[in-house]
Amino acid sequence: MLFNSYEFLLVFAPITYIGFFCVGRYSQRLAALWLAVASVVFYSWWNPSYVPILMSSVIINYLMGALIQRAPDGGWRRLALAAAAGGDLAALGYFKYANFFVTNVGEMTGLATTTKVIALPLGISFFTFTQIAYLVDSYRGKATERNPVLYLLFVTYFPHLIAGPIIHHKDVMPQFARRDTYVFSPSNFVIGMVILILGLFKKCFLADGIAAFAGPMFGGAEQGALPDLLQAWGGALAYTFQLYFDFSGYSDMAIGLSLMINVRLPINFNSPYQAGSIIEFWKRWHISLSTFLRDYLYIPLGGNRCGKARRYTNLLATMVIGGLWHGAAWTFVAWGGLHGLYLIVNHAWRGLRSALPVEAVGRAERAFGTLVTFVAVVVAWVFFRATTFHGAASILAGMVGAHGVGLPAELVARLPSNLADWGCHPVENTLGPFVLTWGWCLSLMVVALVLPNTQDFVARTFSDHNYFDVRPHIAGDDAWRDPPLKWALGLGALAALALMNLIKPAEFLYFNF
């Protein structure tokens, strides 16, 4: 079931919420069970055949978590953790990477290999990582869950189940232990609804709206088309904004839906395209994943504790694995590797810069850093979106002008005649796509680079409380600030534009990962 569908918004969500608060008046345990069952129904809506995989994973990890928590410190405890996490990774590897591995081995060895297409269970990357984090936290003594229903709810909780944010037991489950979580809170409900509306608008109107201008350029390049400078940049920028508004819209919806039942989820995006450096970008983009990779991969690998060379190696390895997590393809490896290199260069520059006798970062330097970071991120997205290196190379060649600079003939007729000297050539019948592509790109650039993000808007407008802080305290009704009426009008308009587009629900891009 998609968040951006009528069956979810008009049937599933109302029944689930009303049931939760009604049952919660009498029994917290039953309300938690209700929510867990609803979450499994939510998951099974796509394909019930994945439910046994999900449930097996939940049961095994619950038992292994209990084993780790009860095992004495030392070898056995470590062995239990290794076995449990290894099992999770093996399952993920089988479903996600088996075909990729067999195909590549076949190509390298020249052996004829036959592969059966293995369907990727929805959300497996997310629920596997969530549970690995739980196992490690159990090992470290930071997480304990004895109640199987609550553990089931922790993993399957529908706002985060399919595409995150990746949550930690210590952040979310203490909230389910609170009595007031089960009591309807008008302010939490309405602010959750506001966040949901913003997320819906981002996904249904912005991301799905600009998607039409990304797909054709990437598809054409894969088929051998040679995009010119503006086409290549237009398509790459369109995808850059599509991905951001799609995924951050989904994350907003997840956070909003959860807040409506008084449970806070961690933020996943914090205006990443406003980042002044790649290091900062990764503190703002898919925060729950980058935090996971830092805490459970980079730091255990040694982090920055073993010298520069080892640090850079760890950075590269972490980002390559992060790339591979997104999908079983070499283009994802290239994307991760590229970001690893970016981070290495950024850390090296940071070290160098601190040695220079220059004052603190000024506005101009910050703006330059933002520009360079943005361009670097867009270039990397080309590998992320392209399905072949040939397609990616063709687009990148277009982005540096190797395929010329085409302009709509109607536009060329109105421009100075010496455009040809600059390498521009007129292209017939392209004014419409040109204007629409660049109109969308420039508009969304303003939204992404200038306007406040969801959490900033909510904090400024609706409440003094930080609804994105997952530390277990719940804002009460007194948190409501009585926002100006104009925002009700604005939000109503955004909701209408989002709902208008619900009739053609498109899956979230991160469902594929």
């Binding site: 309405v190 609804m193 019948n429 004014l431 909701a495 709902l499 619900l502 009739i503 053609k504």
Partner: protein, 340 residues
């Protein structure tokens, strides 16, 4: 009071949402843009732009008009009908306004567009073995706002879906009307983009989803009889599963009959002679299920000799170019022979 404030705010937001959706729904647009946009959205509906142009921008009379589905699209060559009628002393101008899929709601819209704007002598309405349950998928694309609202709610399985789609359709058409060239549409009729008097699809394989330049030769349609029988068996098997006892009398099946009745009533009101063109599937029944009702409106013509010849078919539902040639000539002759 304090507790109710957020909910009051939410109520205001919700009211604005509904008002905004209503406002979007009421946005105006050009009807020509609407027909063009429908043609853009589906290659199979490419003809609807031409249908609008033929009705509104081409002054050539329209004496005989065919309304139907891909069965008529594949089997009626309007020029051949004209030629056959001419041999019998009638200088008629014939048009084939069939579009794929059987849905009487869309047939009604096209017939209304025609009859409210042109004087027509004969309206030839295709009938198949029985009326379907589902509405036409393009109804919402071509319908006026009032058509969507006034469609019979209980028997229309798409009623709520159409309502949900209206704001986007209206907003999208509004934007396209403001700046048609951005979307590859025309604000006014351009003769350079007009197909002409005829749009003959009898040389195109069923599906009509290839570019129109991909016209196939007659040999393309010559199927071995065994293949035709295999297609027919498959269709029969599906039909047995779908036509469960009593299903045909269930409420949603009334939907298409209601629109057929509206169409026929409109034709009668305009003084147009109604003729039914019966083209069932290969080896289908010899008369439509609703023969008794239809006969009250006009004669039911069916080129049985053509339909009985396996060599006339390109698949289990559609005549091939040979069948179309024979059926068109037969139809022209039959129409000409009908008493005035």
């Amino acid at each position: 009071m304090l507790r109710s404030r957020p909910l009051a705010y939410l109520a205001v937001t919700g009211s604005v949402t509904l008002a905004f959706l209503l406002g979007l729904t009421l946005l105006p647009h050009s009807r020509y843009i609407r027909f063009q946009q429908t043609a853009v959205e589906s290659l199979q509906l490419l003809r609807v732009k031409w249908i609008y142009q033929r009705i509104h921008f081409d002054p050539t009379p329209i004496d005989v008009a065919f309304i139907g589905t891909s069965h008529t699209q594949s089997s009626i060559d309007a020029e051949l009908v004209e030629a056959a009628a001419h041999e019998h002393g009638h200088d008629w101008h014939v048009v084939n306004f069939a579009v794929p899929w059987l849905g009487r709601d869309l047939h009604y819209l096209i017939a209304r567009e025609l009859l409210e704007n042109r004087r027509v002598s004969k309206l030839v309405v295709e009938v198949q073995e029985s009326e379907p349950r589902a509405p036409h998928p393009a109804f919402l694309s071509l319908a006026e706002l009032g058509d969507v609202v006034a469609t019979p709610a209980i028997v229309n399985v798409n009623y709520l879906d159409n309502f949900a789609r209206l704001p986007l359709r209206q907003a999208s058409l509004f934007v396209r009307t403001l700046a048609p060239s951005l979307f590859g549409l025309e604000s006014d009729f351009d003769p350079a983009h007009y197909e002409g008097l005829y749009w003959n699809d009898t040389y195109r394989p069923h599906g009509f989803n290839e570019a129109r330049t991909a016209v196939h030769t007659a040999e393309h349609f010559a199927h071995p009889v065994s293949k035709l029988w295999a297609m027919f068996e498959s269709k029969q098997s599906l039909g047995r599963r779908l036509n469960l006892p009593g299903l045909r009398h269930s409420l949603p099946y009334r939907y298409n009959l209601l629109y057929l009745e509206r169409l026929l009533a409109l034709a009668q009101e305009k003084g147009v002679e109604i003729v039914f063109y019966f083209v069932p599937f290969f080896t289908g029944p010899k008369a439509p299920a609703d023969q008794a009702v239809l006969s009250g409106y006009g004669p039911i013509l069916s080129p049985q000799a053509v339909l009985n010849d396996p060599g006339s078919w390109q698949n289990e539902d559609h005549l091939n170019v040979f069948g179309a040639r024979d059926a068109s000539r037969w139809m022209g002759r039959k129409l000409a022979e009908m008493p005035r």
